[in-house]
């Protein structure tokens, strides 16, 4: 079902249609909130708030942007606002205090990669980490990131460049040259 007819059903009062939309986008929204807030409990709260706000304003969604971009935009602003309220600015320092654990053979490759990436992204500014994630994971264009974050295009490009550079430094420091080469010498 395309988004337009799904939205029409929701606006007409079909709760199941909204549940379908929530299921489709909740991981993406939750990931954006996690990148900003870096705390599972707060990210879940922000995800809930995002979908409640989206539901409230869905009838006014004009379709000028993609539905996913619109949801990301609400999620990003909700998480940023929650982060400001809770003043979560000490997480990066805490992560630095804990050296990375040795990779466990029991953990799946994806879980391990996620852990490594999360730890590395935790060293970046939340805004830079989110922009990197939107660009590389969600494959949003710079223009779409501008819509989501409300930042200027040149600012987004600077943050992407700075984020990539910092992420590379952190990964090299955390993993060492050998593991770094394993991650990036795949082609």
């Amino acid at each position: 079902m395309d988004h337009k007819s799904l939205i029409q059903q929701i606006v007409a009062g079909d709760a199941r249609a909204y549940e379908q939309l929530v299921r489709q986008y909740q991981r993406m929204v939750y990931t954006v909130c996690m990148r900003v807030l870096r705390n599972a409990e707060d990210a879940e709260e922000a995800t809930q708030d995002t979908f409640v706000k989206a539901y409230q304003h869905l009838a006014g969604f004009g379709g000028s942007a993609k539905l996913s971009t619109w949801l990301y935009s609400i999620a990003y602003r909700t998480a940023i606002s929650m982060g400001r309220r809770k003043r979560l600015d000490t997480v990066a320092a805490e992560d630095l205090a804990h050296p990375p654990a040795a990779p466990s053979t029991n953990e799946g490759h994806q879980t391990e990669l996620k852990r490594v990436l999360d730890r590395a992204l935790g060293q970046l500014e939340p805004e830079d980490a989110t922009i990197l994630s939107l660009y590389h994971l969600d494959e949003l264009s710079v223009e779409e990131i501008v819509t989501v974050t409300g930042l200027g295009a040149s600012n987004v490009k600077v943050k992407l460049h700075r984020g990539r550079k910092k992420l590379q430094e952190v990964l090299t420091r955390q993993l060492g040259p050998e593991a770094h080469a394993l991650l990036f010498d795949h082609g």
């Binding site: 929530v22 990210a43 539901y55 996620k114 994971l137 010498d185």
Partner: protein
Amino acid sequence: MAEPRDTDLRHLFQQAGYHDPSRDLTSRIMARVAVTPMMQPSVVRPLIGKWGWVAIGTAMAGLLVYALISAPAGIDPNGGLVKQLMPTFQLPQGAWPVWLMAASGCLFLLAVVDRKLARKSAQH
């Protein structure tokens, strides 16, 4: 040591994937949504409708014709800066009262604002 390129980072991010929320997150969201009213979008409509503009246009055209065929009201169309810049230019004979000029200007501005509102309404 290899430098990560854009494709390398994309590969890393996509291999790691999304974060997984708790399993009951959907039901918690839906429980909140069930008690949340959906807001209706505010509809922006033009201040004056199509027929309103036809009536205003007709009235203005009537006033203009009346002003043109009535006696001159004292504005010298042959003096001032216009005369210096364009010596051959002449306004049509007739009255050009200030109030008519001002009213035309106001109507023009109103038409511009109205047009913008109509466009905004179409976007919704």
